[in-house]
Amino acid sequence: MEALLLAETGSLLDRSPLAFDLIVVLGAAVAGCFGALVGLGGGILVTPMLVLICGVEMHTAMGASLLAVIATSSGAAATRSRDTLSNYRVGMFLEVAATIGAIVGALLAALANPAWLQLLFGCLLVSIAASTWRTREDTATHRLPVHPISKRLRLDASYETRAGPVRYHIQRPLQGFGVMTGAGVISGLLGIGSGVLKVVAMDSMMKMPFRVSTTTSNFMIGLTAVASVGVYMAQGFVDPMVTAPVLIGIVPGAMIGARLVTVLKVSLLRRIFLVALIIIAVQMFIRGGGRIVGA
């Protein structure tokens, strides 16, 4: 309730810049750490934190969140010693669709009412919580047939395991391309990386092994986000004074989370995190809905 009142009376940044910076640095560090622990990226928590706790305008919060997505994507790549999993051919093939979608989504966001964006964001949080409730395991994809388009585009690959290399065949590449356009639109529209949607498309639809999907998605979200950031910057939705503390917090937070993931028992944290997502979604519904009803 206090958060809602804060948001109604203007940004915390205008009233107490130091308090704003401290809250955002700490909040972004926690978001980055938890995001890395449960494999969602920290960007999904940044927008609600800025809007609900600090009273930042929705578009500005989404601009900061997109840059947070870039930070977590590049931060993860900077800490990984050797990458034997990412399928860069699949990633680049799908990025053609995702970047176009991201620009379209960013243009739509510029035209959209912030209250409706908050409602949409609430829906997104609920759907992410639902889709990630169940942890996935790698599926045996090596027995699947070779798809002619995948063969032509040389999308099939293999990855190393303790038992030796495992070959996989990419299924439904064109459908994946279509879904990735949608993931790009959502990324640009709501200022997120859309990593969950990308992983679901690659894992469930294209039958790419789950671990390969997550590392490839991590590479892709940075590129998708940077495509939207251009539009957000041009529209004046990137406020350096809001973005700076987010980035200062989220980079070390994500790096700590990436290291803790091998030490901590993640399954319980994952459940707690997903319940938190639902609570945040409800707050976004209340705030967005309240504005629409009040207008």
Binding site: I70, S74, A78, A227, G230, P240, M241, A244
Partner: protein, 117 residues
Amino acid sequence: MTFAGQRIQRRILQVCLAASIILLLWGMARLWLDDISHAQATEAFAALHSPVALLEGVVRAEPVPLICLGIAVLAVTPVLRLLLLLIDFLAQRDWLYAAICAAVGVIIAVGFMLRLH
């Protein structure tokens, strides 16, 4: 990507992230020490019309240009990864994926040029 390419990529990303965080911290510290309000900082940001104005501000160690450069350095990291991947595909004589990388680069560039009125 080859392991040599990955090593170069990792090193470049580490340097960019470190540079970005240092610039952001430096700019934020100057904002706090000089007691600059959000309104004043927004005014200073609006005055940054060109990259030259940004760099001149950085040379004078002004807080808002320092923060903006920190954000720009971070924002460019995915594009650097794309560039390295393009070079990697070219080195492998994989013309199709080199062309796809270039196409994604063009799409991103178009995004930076679009502006709604």
